[in-house]
């Protein structure tokens, strides 16, 4: 079970829109309790006061950025969904395939507050003229699936889903789909292919899902946390939402932050967007006795390593991006001084190589090569040139060179690990003098 490590007293409706309803004991907030605490009020407001257009405008102004790690403006995404004459009604897909290494924030929301997600999806359906929602959930989230299914049943029985939602004359329903265990299903178009029963290969963009998504219909794919932010924006407005970040960031709202690794008190907190990592480390109680911080990943396995000096930075998309990494999911993983960066990187690349869908060449064949090089370095069997080769692979696995963002995500920890900890890698190079193929090969010489 994921736990929020803030007391009920701290979690106020006006400051903690994502978590204020959560029970301290971690039991799920089901319909009755949820309704008593502003539950579904945003849907009532939307039906009463808003149109698709005004709702999307509100969202744009709120500057809600995608919480799955991409940080793309949710309002902008929704405004690009095709609607209107001759365009079929499409789908809202919730990306609940939380498989990013070190990330466990969506799980909290799914397990303990499923109606917030449902409420967000109803609003998304309303704004994007969808008739059906799907929650694509990581297969291992068995408890979450049970809770979400119960919530869906409750919501349907109470008239929040199905035909004529809440007397609005508008139909919308949601189905739960559990995945079969592929990280790539977290990529929105691979997720759609998987949902359709096809191989979980990503799709080329353009066309974007809003143009042609699931079964060729306009489709919006949003992360759990993103969708959970929508109800409070609709209820309280964009200005209120912007204010939640208390000037710590240009981005609005709060963020579910977390810390894992050798800290005293690993866990999750809902904090203003842009909270510096130092505050997170404080809330996590600092490093365990006898350990010092060596490096940290700001938001999952597919983000770049940062140094202790970067802890001062505001944890938001732009600041972390400017530091050469990515905010990602905002759940930081700390690495202690006694942990090998080479082994850690090898472990991550093994994961990414295994989870490659096998569609494009650099990812399919380049990642396993990086794993083998890292294994050699780890075993002290590296050859001269191996590190240069890894660096060149990290470039070729970068954005634009691969079909989707999977390999660029994998390249981030690899490139940054070598950048900051080159000497650790060099310790693994024990061969090379006189090894013929360790020399760089001239190419393009025909």
């Amino acid at each position: 079970m994921s736990r929020i490590l803030q007391d009920r007293d701290e979690r106020r409706p006006e400051t903690h829109p994502l978590t204020f309803r959560l029970n301290d004991d971690g039991t799920p907030v089901m319909l009755e309790a949820y309704r008593e605490q502003q539950g579904y009020a945003s849907v009532e407001r939307a039906f009463r006061d808003l149109t698709s257009k005004t709702l999307i405008e509100e969202l744009k102004t709120a500057n809600l950025r995608g919480r799955g790690g991409g940080g793309f403006s949710a309002g902008l995404k929704w405004s690009l969904t095709m609607q209107g004459e001759g365009i079929p009604r499409g789908y809202i897909v919730c990306n609940a395939d939380e498989m990013e290494p070190g990330t466990f924030k969506d799980r909290l929301l799914l397990e303990q507050q499923p109606h917030l997600l449902i409420e967000g999806m109803i609003l998304a359906g309303f704004a994007n003229n969808a008739y059906q929602g799907y929650i694509f959930m990581r297969g291992e989230y068995v408890d979450a699936a049970r809770t979400v299914q119960r919530a869906l049943d409750e919501a349907r029985a109470a008239g929040w889903l199905g035909r004529d939602v809440a007397g609005s004359g508008w139909d919308f329903d949601i189905a739960l789909h559990t995945g079969a265990g592929r990280y790539i299903c977290g990529e929105e178009t691979a997720l759609i292919n998987s949902l359709e029963g096809k191989r979980a290969n990503p799709r080329a963009k353009p066309p974007f899902p809003g143009q042609s998504g699931a079964w060729g219909k306009p489709t919006v794919v949003n992360n759990v946390e993103t969708l959970c932010n929508v109800p409070s924006i609709v209820l309280h407005g964009a200005d209120w939402y912007q204010g939640l970040s208390q000037g710590k960031s240009g981005d609005g709202g709060t963020k579910l932050y977390g810390v894992s690794g050798k800290v005293k008190r690993p866990g999750l907190w809902e904090l203003p967007m842009g909270t510096p990592a130092t505050e997170l480390m404080e809330r996590a109680g600092g490093m365990r006795e006898g350990h010092t911080l060596k490096t940290w990943l700001p938001g999952g396995g597919s983000t770049g390593f940062l140094l202790p000096e970067h802890l001062e930075l505001a944890l938001d998309f732009d600041t972390i991006g400017n530091a050469g990494s990515r905010l990602g999911t905002g759940l930081i993983a700390v690495v202690a001084d006694d942990q090998s960066v080479v082994s850690l990187t090898r472990n991550l690349e093994e994961f990414f190589a295994r989870e490659s869908c096998g569609w494009c060449t650099p990812c399919r064949d380049g990642l396993p090569w990086s794993v083998k090089l890292l294994q050699a370095l780890e075993a002290g069997e590296g050859e001269r040139g191996d590190i240069d080769l890894l660096e060149s692979l990290a470039v070729d696995l970068g954005p634009g060179r691969t079909f989707c963002a999977h390999a660029p995500g994998a390249a981030m920890p690899l490139a940054s690990a070598i950048h900051y900890f080159r000497e650790e890698f060099e310790r693994g190079v024990t061969r090379g003098q006189g090894v013929a193929h360790a020399d760089p090969i001239p190419v393009g010489s025909v």
Partner: protein, 920 residues
């Protein structure tokens, strides 16, 4: 149009293309794997990376995959950019990580796209030092060899097999660097287009198993432009020969007909050319006349091999002493050979060798192609049609390549939808996603369920007359002046209305019918639909399926039926006969053929196969197959096309006396007339054909005359790396003879001659361009990739609709009425085994379905037949016993007789059925 700037030069290109397509069409080299001109872009392999700049001032630029980048006007790109070049070389390096580097023992070597691209990118040395991943291979049947370790995971195979050809039993399995392309378990690939995998696959994963049996590198093969003789579609092929045997057949690109793809019958059915038992010298058979009844052997005694002059003298003697000599031609022989036979025996003595009922249909089809107002479409035009009605043809069996074209037409609905959403049609996966199950309307009316049924909006499985009645009803729905079938049920009327509505709503409706069922009514119904469409719609097409390679040509040439000839012989009204490349036993019952051949005093047979008819010849003259001869065929489209001799058989086998049939017949004519044989060239015969038959007047333009030269050079049949020439006859003679001379074509039996691509030419023996050794070299010969050959596509169309307002046929059949004790035997075309010559090739025999009758469940119940039980079909004197297939869709009151069954059945006939085996 758009202007793009590539490495400092400006080009005008089609703005709807992607950059890769545009650059390749300009003749620029960019390496690629997953892209294919017929299948579009998917962006998987990342091989075609180029640098794209924001504008003229941008020096940074960024890598883009040219296959996924739309052409933008005023775009600045660089292929030569160092970063792009390095990335492309790295892609090859990654692809090579698990590739076994087994080129010396790989059958793709020498025509391998992966080799070409590797050389093109400059990657020449590996840095990967770890273990390679390996796979196990599968037995995929008699056509395709499988070596998965060579796979570079470009996904082309499954994209062709599933998306383009509709196959369901080849897929991608696994993930990450362990993707496996194969079947879920070992077994024969089911698609009749599996052979295209050998050309679609850019390396040696899927190779030609029949080629493997007698493997030769591409550079050691001798090629000529040829035309497939295995059905009437007229696909262009490039057969390769070594040591006097055809080693493989490759697709020869034709922009209007077959594009990049062949069916498996055409690709793998060549084995009859190489059969050991082929007649290679003239034979004389001594016979004692046995005036016994039908069925008695006509020839007793031995067979003697003859020299040419002796054979001609004996044949001439026999024919001269006959009172009346008739000739029996063949729809599998060229126009030239049939014409020379006709010249030998005289117009009034010439039979086409075709069953009277089939001939009637063929003649009627020629008429309909000119007198119903709609043109006969090429396959490319079929692919552009947006509503299709098929009456009576199981296209996957009777004209498989056309079925593949119809599939593209029906699936092109996705392109239309994509255009509406601003998605370029080359973005293949995006189009597929958007289209989902959307198809242009296809309506199929056949007796049995067909492989295209899954694409059809509606199907009707019915007896031939009921199929015809549906067609007549459609015509009536389109135009009330067209006669309506009487007493048609409401359900069929509703179907007819829907079909009529769909055809009228279409921009380019297409009607397909043909002779497979042997039903004139079906044909007339298609004619009425075509006429009604011509009256009501702006555009449309009528495609009529003929059975054999030159069925269309022979019908245009004209002649009597086979029955006419057999009757003349049996009645003694003719006593000499010359049979041209025709096994009469495949077309008429032995009880009819035997008395005719027995009674004739002189039977001369020309063939390249040792058929039952050949065995009855007094004089047998060894004819050249398509591989050893030149000639002209007319395809079902009405396109006259020239096929060229691939090799000279006597070069490797000096003892052979094989000659083109038209050359034999010219010599025979001279011998009969006691004249010296004057040399005759193909051009002379073709000119004569054109001069004698007005409808065939353009056939001279179907191919290149023997005088054609490029830069004063003949065209080479052999690649310039052809090796072993001086050694290949060393076991016969230490001195190398002069290469055979070819008076009939501009091609030389040599590597000397023009073989390039920069001078446009229509007839290409083998596709090769510097750096492009694989079939991808066709890019270099096309006006744009996937378009037409720069010099125009081969062939000349003979059939065009004549202007006029044609009235409807008003003689409509009544509804099919089952009989109590009889069943209508309906012929079923069969792709594998249903064609005379390819059925003699072993790989085709291995691929034939079990020969079975097809029955309805009710008939089976009535006869108390269980599945697989034996049943005897009795057609007058003829009896045939086979196991049965009980079909849920097969029309009651009829029985399906597959064309490989050996029971000549040109048209439906009433038969008796008995359970079990019935002795004669």
């Amino acid at each position: 149009m758009a202007t793009i700037h590539v490495d400092g030069r400006d080009y005008e290109v089609d703005g709807a293309d992607n950059l890769l397509h545009a650059c390749l069409s300009l003749g620029l080299d960019i390496p690629y794997f997953c892209w294919h001109p017929a299948m579009g872009s998917v962006g998987a392999c990342r091989q075609c990376a180029v640098k794209q700049y924001k504008n003229a001032d941008d020096t940074q630029g960024m890598l883009v995959m040219s296959c996924m980048a739309p052409v933008q006007d005023d775009a600045y790109i660089s292929i030569e950019d160092e970063e792009a070049k390095a990335f492309r070389a790295n892609v090859i390096e990654w692809l090579m990580i698990n590739h076994p580097h087994d080129c010396p023992v790989c059958e793709e070597g020498g025509h391998c796209h992966l080799q070409d691209m590797t050389v093109m990118t400059g990657h020449d040395s590996r840095r990967y030092r770890f273990r390679k991943r390996t796979h196990k291979n599968q037995d995929l049947g008699p056509f395709i060899a499988h070596e998965m370790n060579r796979c570079i995971t470009c996904y082309r195979c499954v994209r062709f097999y599933q998306d383009y050809a509709g196959g369901g039993d080849l897929g991608a399995f696994g993930a990450h660097d362990n993707i496996y392309f194969g079947r879920f378990q070992e077994g024969t690939l089911e698609s009749p287009f599996s052979g295209n995998l050998t050309e679609v696959c850019p390396t040696g994963v899927f190779t030609d198993q029949t080629h493997s049996e007698h493997y030769t590198r591409k550079w050691d093969l001798q090629f000529a432009p040829s035309v497939c003789h295995q059905c009437a579609v007229g696909c262009n092929i490039s057969p390769g020969e070594r040591y006097g045997d055809i080693r493989r057949i490759e697709n020869r690109y034709h922009g209007d007909v077959n594009h990049y793809f062949l069916c498996d019958r055409g690709r793998f059915g060549y084995g009859y050319v190489n059969r050991e038992d082929r007649p290679r010298v003239p034979e004389w058979r001594e016979r004692q006349r046995v005036d016994a009844g039908p069925g008695a052997a006509g020839v007793v005694g031995g067979t003697i091999s003859l020299e040419i002059d002796d054979a001609l003298d004996r044949a001439a003697d026999g024919l001269r002493s006959a009172r009346r000599v008739i000739g029996i031609g063949s729809p599998r022989a060229s126009l030239e050979s049939n014409h020379m036979l006709r010249t030998l025996v005289g117009d009034e003595n010439f039979s086409t060798g075709i069953d009277a009922r089939e001939l009637e249909l063929l003649v009627r089809m020629s008429e309909l192609n000119t007198r119903c107002g709609l043109p006969s479409p090429s396959l490319r035009e079929i692919e552009a049609c947006d509503a299709v009605l098929v009456l009576g043809e199981d296209l996957l069996q009777s004209a498989a390549r056309m079925a593949l074209a119809v599939r593209q037409a029906i699936n092109a609905r996705g392109d239309a939808l994509a255009a509406e959403r601003g998605i370029p049609t080359w973005n293949a996966e995006a189009v597929k996603t958007l289209a989902q199950e959307a198809h242009h309307p296809l309506f199929l009316a056949t007796p049995e369920a067909t492989g295209l049924d899954e694409l059809a909006e509606r199907t009707l499985h019915a007896a031939p007359d009921d199929i015809a009645r549906l067609g007549f009803a459609v015509a009536h729905c389109l135009d009330a002046e067209a006669p309506a079938p009487e007493a048609l049920d409401d359900v069929t009327w509703a179907l007819a209305r829907r079909i009529g509505e769909a055809l009228l709503a279409a921009e380019r409706p297409l009607v397909i019918a043909g002779g497979s069922l042997g039903s004139p009514a079906v044909l007339e119904a298609a004619g009425n639909v075509a006429r009604a469409l011509a009256r009501r719609a702006q555009a449309g097409a009528l495609s009529l399926v003929r059975r054999e390679a030159n069925s269309t040509g022979l019908a245009l040439l004209g002649g009597q039926s086979l029955e006419w000839a057999l009757d003349l012989l049996a009645n003694g009204d003719a006593d000499g006969v010359v049979v041209l490349e025709n096994d009469l036993y495949t077309r008429a019952a032995a009880a009819r053929v035997n008395p005719a051949l027995q009674r004739a005093d002189c039977v001369v047979v020309l063939d390249h196969q040792r058929t039952a008819t050949w065995e009855k010849a007094d004089i047998g003259l060894p004819a050249a197959s398509f591989a050893e001869s030149d000639g002209t065929l007319v395809s079902l489209e009405g396109r006259a096309q020239r096929f060229y001799q691939v090799f000279e058989p006597s070069y490797i086998r000096p003892e052979t006396r094989i000659r083109e049939s038209w050359r034999w017949l010219n010599a025979l004519k001279a011998s009969v007339e006691r004249q010296p044989v004057t040399p005759l060239t193909l051009d002379e015969v073709t000119r004569e054909v054109a001069a004698t038959h007005s409808v065939l007047a353009p056939v001279g333009d179907a191919g290149l005359s023997a005088a054609y030269r490029v830069h004063g050079l003949r065209l080479a049949r052999e690649p310039h790396r052809y090796s072993g020439r001086t050694a290949m006859r060393a076991n016969l003679d230490v001195s190398e003879p002069r290469v055979p001379q070819d008076p009939d074509t501009p091609f030389a039996f040599s590597m000397e001659g023009y073989a390039g691509y920069d001078e446009p030419r229509r007839e290409v023996a083998f596709a090769w361009a510097p750096g492009w050794n694989s079939p991808q070299a066709w890019n270099k010969f096309q006006d744009e990739v996937g378009g037409h050959l720069r010099a125009g596509d081969p062939g000349v169309r003979l059939l065009a609709p004549l202007p006029g307002d044609y009235d409807y046929v008003r003689d409509l059949p009544a509804a099919f009425a089952p009989r109590d004790e009889q069943w209508l035997a309906v012929p079923q075309p069969r792709l594998f085994g249903g064609e005379e010559t390819s059925a003699r090739a072993e790989p085709i025999q291995a691929r034939m379905d079990a020969t079975r009758f097809t029955l309805s469940a009710r008939t089976a119940e009535r006869l108390r037949l269980t599945p697989d039980a034996a049943m005897t079909l009795i057609l007058g004197e003829r009896r045939l016993t086979l196991p049965v297939t009980i079909s849920a869709t097969w029309p009651d009151g009829t029985v399906g007789v597959p064309s490989q069954a050996g029971l000549p059945l040109a048209a439906p006939e009433w038969a008796r059925l008995e359970a079990g085996e019935v002795s004669a």
